[in-house]
Symmetry: C2
Subunit: 236 residues, 2 copies
DNA sequence: GGATAACTGTGTCTATAGGACACTGTGTAT
DNA sequence: ATACACAGTGTCCTATAGACACAGTTATCC
């Protein structure tokens, strides 16, 4: 019943802590194959196409067979994520915290551009797998030599990844009004019709590209972090 | 078929552009009642409890009766959002763009704290209703006297609202590893067990409170925006 | 070397979701 | 008065996640 029990189960699954069975017939496949298949479906037809039946059918088995490997769909999603995230970026070759963080942001953005269904499901309270955990670890390495506190470092890297996530949501399904989605032209018409009530929005020109949003926001965030760093640095 | 058709229909619904019927029996209720009922259900039992059947039953009618008022569930959600967002904040009493934006962030955060199901569904490509549109309009007013370009202003207010959204996601369902959710203690154990692979994360102490995250991030963002503003300001 | 217990995949069943569609009744405009 | 446009209802369909009993398979124990 308690959600933490489920998440403990997810943790065991993701970190390879489940005891392999000693007796009984050979499993026809393993979790990695299931995860890869599900990822393939999501890549091809989107996350909403991923159902137990669909993944099972893709493997040539019945839906219920999957439940021998996975307790519920949440676990399927969890192993999907772990299989879909690429290896964490190595920032050791980049000089300076700012360039490192920027490089991290670009790699994260590139990874999510390849799999547009990832950013949305990786938000929220979750247990991460070892591969995925490598990403925040990598991001933290960017700030290792700064005078920021541990807490501030975590906040800073969350700021960056949340920004990338939000801008991706704005780009693919879109987010607010002014981004380039299906809703954008409709909203523009509505704003022009009601220009008296929304003068500022109505006079604002057309939507910027997603990359522009990312750039301004990323620079602003990094400027803000830099401000915090210089504040913490003792004046000499 | 095309998604933009659906969104055009949503726009007509939200902005009151649907012609009232001339002939036929009186409707037993109106869209506002439906929206309020759905909001009440979401407030009491969460968004996942909101189904056509549930809302209809709450009103004492059958599920299919709702489809006379709403084309599909997406439209129900749309009117729910419009009914649930409060009036946009009036920032005219606050002095200075920074204080205004900060006040805006606090009001947005307070509004979303009252309705934890709102931030998640208000992300993504959407047509907004007139009440909700008042919010970005209000946010833009904070930056009206700054030398930022229109585009930069939009980027800036998106930065703020996305940050609030992300931190709320971190607080209620939680988000990454280190936030205060069900998954956090489990992740901590895993990190300590694998401290050799994740030295930076493993040595990091316990999760900060959600408000702390908001504060650091908000200040960083505002510092970044301030940096952009002072850059654009001609030196005198 | 058999019995046993653990395990596999399958078939059947339930609950719940969104939604299509035909039907009966009602109110207004012609 | 009549016809039309609308209202709510009941029935039906498809798809979802999941519970559970069942038959076949395999390693371990006596």
């Amino acid at each position: 019943m308690p959600a933490s029990e489920d998440q403990k189960a997810v943790a065991e699954l993701l970190w390879g802590l489940r005891k392999p069975p000693s007796r009984g017939p050979r499993p026809a496949f393993d979790i990695a194959q299931i995860a890869d298949t599900a990822v393939k479906v999501a890549d091809a037809e989107g996350l909403e196409a991923v159902s137990m039946q669909r993944v099972a059918a893709e493997l040539g088995f019945t839906k219920m067979a999957l439940y021998r490997y996975v307790n519920d769909k949440a676990e399927l999603i969890a192993v999907m994520i772990e299989a879909a995230v690429g290896p964490a970026p190595d920032l050791s070759g980049v000089c300076g915290w700012r360039a490192k963080l920027e490089e991290y942001a670009r790699q994260l953005s590139a990874a999510w551009r390849l799999r547009p269904w990832l950013p949305s499901i990786t938000a929220g309270d979750r247990v991460m797998g070892p591969r995925e955990t490598g990403w925040p670890e990598s991001a933290l390495s960017a700030l290792a030599d700064t005078p920021l506190t541990e807490r501030e470092r975590l906040d800073a890297i969350m700021l960056v990844s949340n920004h990338i996530r939000a801008t991706h949501a704005a780009a693919t399904p879109g987010t607010q009004t002014w981004t380039a989605g299906n809703a954008a032209p409709i909203m523009r018409d509505l704003l022009l019709l009601n220009a008296d009530r929304f003068p500022l929005l109505a006079t604002t020109q057309a939507a910027p590209s997603a990359t522009t949003i990312q750039e301004f926001g990323l620079h602003a965030i990094l400027d803000g972090v830099e401000h915090a760093i210089t504040q913490r640095t003792p004046k000499q």
